[in-house]
């Protein structure tokens, strides 16, 4: 197993740990925080996967995922703040 695949494995384990807070979070804001953490970890692991599989298209997917998850986070935040 190369060092890149090891990094992706650890990042996936961290996503599962963050999902504990996503399920158990007492308020909706805690769940949004956990979702934001999972989005960041997905982008990081997608960049590393692009090297592991030698596919540059994965990194373009990471850029688009970062932008779209940002829009999603902003809309959930507007909804929670009662401004929508």
């Amino acid at each position: 197993m190369s060092i890149w695949m090891f990094t992706v494995s650890v990042l996936c384990a961290l996503m599962l740990l963050a999902m504990v807070r996503l399920v158990r979070g007492p308020t909706a804001a805690d769940r949004v925080v956990a979702l934001d953490a999972i989005n960041t970890l997905v982008v990081a692991s997608m960049i590393v996967l692009g090297v592991a599989f030698k596919q540059i298209i994965f990194i373009d997917v990471a850029i688009i995922y970062a932008l779209l998850s940002y829009v999603g986070t902003l809309f959930i935040a507007k909804y929670l703040g009662g401004e929508l």
């Binding site: 060092i3 990094t7 650890v10 990042l11 961290l14 740990l17 963050a18 504990v20 807070r21 308020t27 909706a28 804001a29 805690d30 949004v32 925080v33 956990a34 934001d36 953490a37 960041t40 970890l41 982008v43 990081a44 960049i47 590393v48 692009g50 090297v51 540059i56 990194i59 373009d60 990471a62 850029i63 970062a66 932008l67 998850s69 940002y70 986070t73 902003l74 959930i76 935040a77 507007k78 909804y79 929670l80 703040g81 009662g82 401004e83």
Partner: protein, 117 residues
């Protein structure tokens, strides 16, 4: 080879700070401290894992002079810039929404936003 050592060090720092961020959102008491731990630590860790990718691409480009490694490095830098901007702005939006929703910091001594609309 020194470039491989640098790649390992960057990946180790990145994984360490990502782990600290996730432990922070599992252990801290309220939404503001969780946001504080999560956003800064995972952004820093993701920047360092991407620095490892850029170092790898630079080393491969040095050896082979293949243009696709330059593309890899450039796209990774674009992804890191996008990630840094969106994480900071999104964290600000979440904190503002949580305050407007009525969550207050648990053990805060001073709250400068108290009573403001």
């Amino acid at each position: 080879m020194i470039l491989n050592v640098l790649i390992w060090v960057a990946l180790g720092i990145g994984l360490f700070f990502n782990t600290l961020g996730v432990i922070g959102i599992l252990r801290f008491p309220d939404v503001y401290t969780r946001l504080h731990a999560d956003t800064k630590a995972t952004t820093f860790g993701s920047i360092f894992t991407s620095i490892a990718v850029v170092l790898y691409a630079a080393g491969q480009y040095w050896h082979t002079l293949d243009g696709q490694y330059a593309t890899l490095a450039l796209h990774t830098v674009i992804a890191v810039v996008v990630l840094a901007i969106t994480n900071a702005t999104g964290a600000h939006a979440i904190a503002r929404a949580a305050y407007r929703r009525g969550h207050r910091p648990v053990q805060a001594v001073v709250d400068h936003l108290e009573g403001k609309p």
